[in-house]
């Protein structure tokens, strides 16, 4: 580890990956020893497994099947082979939706992760106040729809208090949700506002796991807060950060409600994110076959991104000894 230059070797998390592996090997052996626990475990797992099969596995398999059919929900599905996928590849609105969604995810996750990390580090290094931690979480207590409506009214070009303030300061009003360049960044930031507290709290929990003596040792060696952040906090937070990133990226790709209450995909198709387009195809146009094909495409994209993220960030391993 690069931190070696500024602190004593004995406190370093060297060889921690190896340690992690040893530990998990012991766990596995422990579980195998007593077979009687297996049944009990099965009982505990059963409700979750039932839920998984009924609400996740079965709908997923059925969705994949439906993606090869023409289906309007009210009459029996009709097998059409790869027609829906061919249509998808040639559908400019699908590609636009994918592009819009990716832009949204980049802005949303980029800003949210940096800001949440900053909040988490400030919470850890500067304050012990539980009240403050609660305050940071407040926007998350609000439903997405309510948050969307509140911001819709604040940002209304003509009547919103936000634009009244902007106009009062002598600037031109900004059509936050009605202009094609502003709309996606605005929606992305509304969701950053709502999710930042939750993300920060997850990261904060990760920070708590870093032994304080590392910071003390670094301080003794005269390291600055900035240097400690890059040399201690970031490397040791990596697994938590990786899991948080994987979760938030998946959630971000599935953005729907904020769009549905603020712009409904407009202006033109500027905010017609993939989930919204899928919803419209299914419940607006009754094209459940085509909507299923696009959902399968989203599933593939998300699986690929998650796999790459998992590998790149070595999310399954820790550097903490």
């Amino acid at each position: 580890m690069t931190i070696a230059s500024s602190s004593p070797p004995s406190r370093l998390p060297l060889g921690s990956a190896e340690g992690g592996l040893t530990k998990s090997r012991t766990d596995r052996r422990g579980a195998g020893e007593s077979r009687g626990d297996g049944r009990l475990a099965a009982v505990f797992i059963a409700p979750a497994l039932l839920g998984f099969v009924v609400f996740l596995l079965w709908p997923t398999l059925r969705g994949i099947y439906l993606s090869f059919t023409r289906f309007n929900l009210l009459t029996p599905a009709e097998w059409v082979g790869f027609d829906n996928y061919v249509r998808m590849v040639h559908d400019p609105i699908f590609w636009n939706s994918l592009k819009v969604t990716v832009v949204y995810v980049i802005i949303n996750i980029g800003v949210q992760t940096v800001a949440a990390l900053a909040v988490a580090v400030l919470l850890q290094r500067l304050t012990q106040s539980a009240v403050l931690r609660g305050v940071v979480l407040t926007p998350y207590l609000m439903s997405n729809v309510v948050a969307g409506i509140v911001w819709l009214w604040i940002l209304d070009t003509q009547l919103g208090i936000g634009n009244e303030i902007i106009a009062g300061l002598g600037f031109d009003r900004i059509p936050f949700l009605a202009d094609e360049t502003w709309a996606i960044p605005t929606i992305a930031l509304i969701n950053v506002w709502r999710h930042i507290g939750y993300t920060a709290l997850l990261l904060f929990a990760g920070l708590q796991a870093i032994p304080n003596d590392m910071y003390e040792a670094a301080k003794v060696d005269g390291a600055s807060e900035w240097r400690m952040f890059w040399r201690i906090t970031m490397p040791l937070l990596r697994p938590v950060l990786a899991v948080v990133l994987i979760m938030t990226v998946i959630g971000s790709f599935q953005v729907f409600d904020t769009v549905a209450v603020t712009t409904r995909g407009g202006p033109a198709d500027a905010t017609n994110v993939l989930q919204y387009y899928i919803y419209g195809a299914a419940f607006g146009r009754f094209q459940f076959g085509y909507a299923s094909a696009m959902s399968v495409a989203l599933l593939v994209v998300l699986s690929a991104i998650t796999f790459v993220q998992y590998r790149l960030t070595r999310a399954g391993q820790t550097d903490l000894g």
Partner: protein, 449 residues
Amino acid sequence: MRIRMRTVTALTGALALSLVSGCAQGGGAGSSANTVTYWLWDANQLPAYEACAKDFAQQNPGLKVKITQLGWDDYWTKLTASFIAGTEPDVFTDHIQKFGQFADLKVLEPLDDLGIDDANYQPGLGANWMGQDGHRYGAPKDWDTVALFYNRKMAKDAGLTAEQLNNLSWNPKDGGTFEKAIAHLTVDNKGRRGDEPGFDKNNVKVYGLATNGGGDGDGQTQWSTFTASAGWTYTDQKRWGTKYQYDSKTFQSVIKWYFGMANKGYMVPFTDYNSQSNQANTQVAAGKAASAFDGAWMISSYAGFKGMDMDTAVTPAGPTGKRATMMNGLADSITKNADNKAGAKKWVEYLASNECQKTVGSYGIVFPATPDGTKAAVAAYKKKGLDVSAFTEPVADKKDFTTFSYPITNYAADVYALMHPAMQDIFGNGKSVTGLDQTNSQINLILDQ
């Protein structure tokens, strides 16, 4: 252990099933041989239909109507979901825009045996609810037209009289007296009017005309009055056409001129519009616009603006020499899987009767479909001090006016999905109207399949 596990699983399963079936039952609760479930979306109309339901129950002992009112958006989402879940109401208020899709999905019950005679209703209202298969799927209920609502004080300040505003004409070249009036109603931050030298279109205090957005494929309260008075029609046939005509040069020139009023600063720009928070009526109520095209269903809303004196004028005459407005009519439909079909038919028959429509008319909130019902409504509006002739004249006077219906075709939802962004692109992003050629051929391709 094994038995216990099975019990646990069985219990969990039973619980899950009871939850699911419990949900499924929820929507249709109350459906039985002596109850008819009925859905409508307009909260203003609820008291009128409750009165009808009361009379109906008196005339049909042992049969009562359970009315559910849901807001416009929730209404269609919930109705769609109810068809899928099998919890649909027996009878529901139907909209012509959705009729094509429901016909495609075959979820409506034919009403041929109700003996509905088109001649008993205002012209055109009955015929619209005949499907392509020759069966009737809706019983005429009410109708609405579009007129120009304007702020009386703002008009007076601009020196425009009611007579002048009722005699406007327009053309796609220079906008005619209509555009002049709208320009004159427009005032910038420094008090200069839209047609005065030095007018600053980027700092407008009050726009001459409010906007209801791009108008999707129908432009009901946006551009349809202009496209129709220029002689254009949505499709190649009056009903169940197979070709849309958004590629018409006439249509495109009117659209270009219409949205051009926003570029000139006379009409509220797209960026100020929001389908949820800032529609035309809000713009007028907030004093940001002097006038707005809106439908008869909004009469009470405009009349209720606090501290604002509102009036109405007929739509302007177009190149054809006629004034045009969409005349849209709602209907009551019975669902194919209605629990109480016999009761539903009785209720729809009553809803379509002169008796119930007169009752509804007497509340002065909507124009019922029968001429007597309409008369009752006009009288009730008059009692409230509201002159509604701008809405009724187009129906009564066929010499100066022309009325037209919503486009009725298959694949209405697909047409909407393509036209909604296309019109926003023109209005909001300044895209060329010629792009509608491509949208139109996409639409016609769908209709061809």
